[in-house]
């Protein structure tokens, strides 16, 4: 980060290559829209570049970048909610780039592909139905393996709040994925 603060583009390239996949997937899982996720991940790294001079290594770098990501995702979810509110054309057809549409990549046969798509759809729907904070805490724990302390820093709440968010999120998912069969 010190090198990036001095304007070293090669250091920035290393950082981008190291974190782009995890940041992209974090955004994608939170907002559930691939196209918007790809736009937002650029915005995250733009902010990293712009804030490099003011960066103080108090916590892990991933916690810092995930915090930027979480804030952007929350803003995106709010503006998406506003867009839906004012849009007269909102319908289920808008799901062109949503999470369930893109998860069947790489399935070997048509039958497997359909099955994988259906499974992914169920998981994605269950995840998207969680409240924002619960979803964020759960994703950070399940897919990024952050500790409660780190999650608390990312979503700006206490460790006990993270614990209770995760308990509630897991309970909801248990209920929603009750009929899910492998």
């Amino acid at each position: 980060m010190a090198r990036i603060a001095e304007g070293d583009e090669s250091a920035f390239e290393i950082l981008v290559n190291r974190h782009q996949t995890s940041v992209l997937n974090l955004i994608y899982r939170i907002i559930g829209d691939r196209t918007r996720a790809k736009d937002l991940v650029q915005e995250v790294f733009l902010r990293v570049w712009q804030s490099a001079r003011s960066y103080e290594p108090k916590a892990k770098f991933t916690t810092w970048i995930y915090r930027i990501t979480a804030n952007l995702c929350l803003n995106e979810l709010k503006s998406a909610h506003r867009r839906r509110w004012f849009s007269f054309h909102h319908s289920n057809e808008d799901s062109e780039n949503t999470i369930e549409e893109t998860l069947s990549d790489g399935a070997p046969s048509a039958e497997d592909l359909l099955l994988a798509k259906e499974r992914s759809r169920q998981i994605a729907n269950a995840l998207q139905s969680l409240p924002e904070n619960q979803r964020m805490a759960l994703i950070l724990k399940r897919y990024d393996d952050l500790s409660y302390q780190e999650i608390a820093r990312v979503i700006s709440c206490s460790v006990s709040a993270v614990e209770s968010l995760l308990v509630r999120a897991k309970r909801s998912l248990q209920e929603k994925l009750k009929n899910y069969e492998k």
Binding site: Q42, F45, W49, S120, A124, K141, Y148
Partner: protein, 164 residues
């Protein structure tokens, strides 16, 4: 340890967030209690299920896109801010514009109709000219000489001149 207490701690146990002493107690309880063990197995099943959500991959030219974004000039100045404010208040602004247009068009029409004697009550011999006067918006014209209004305006202007 009681079942209710263990069940509250199952999530933290699964996430490896319990202190070593507590963790051992929960482990021992799970070995003996079928109900809690079943609940933990269900929690674990859901956790494994979530793992089936596949990863997506960034475009190969992602870094170049970021660099381009960094180098492109950002929107600056008052215009984007004004645009944002307008977007926030677009509904009240639209209503205000419609009201103003309605008022101006209404007063123009009223004045036009009154001038052409097209109001229905104008043909009624019982009606006086006050109806026409108000609907035509002539109330905003300068006060006619000899009326109390004209006297009031004269008084006000006299005071103003006097104070100077």
């Amino acid at each position: 340890m009681k079942c209710s207490k263990v069940q509250k701690k199952l999530s933290a146990y699964q996430d490896g967030e319990l202190k070593p002493g507590e963790r051992d107690k929960v482990t021992m309880h799970l070995q003996d209690c079928q109900v809690c063990c079943k609940q933990y197995a269900e929690l674990d099943r859901v956790w494994q299920t979530l793992g089936e959500l596949q990863e997506i991959h960034p475009d190969p030219w992602f870094y170049r896109q970021v660099v381009r974004k960094i180098k492109e000039p950002r929107e600056q100045g008052l215009l984007p801010a004004l645009h944002h404010v307008f977007w926030l208040f677009r509904a009240p602004v639209a209503v205000s514009i419609i009201l103003i247009i309605g008022l101006v068009a209404g007063s123009y029409l009223g004045s036009l109709l009154a001038r052409c004697d097209l109001f229905p009550f104008q043909n009624n011999p019982l009606s006086d000219s006050r109806g026409t006067f108000f609907t035509s918006m002539r109330v905003f014209d300068p006060a006619p000489p000899g009326t109390p209004a004209e006297g009031y305006f004269r008084m006000v202007s006299y005071k103003e001149n006097d104070s100077r």
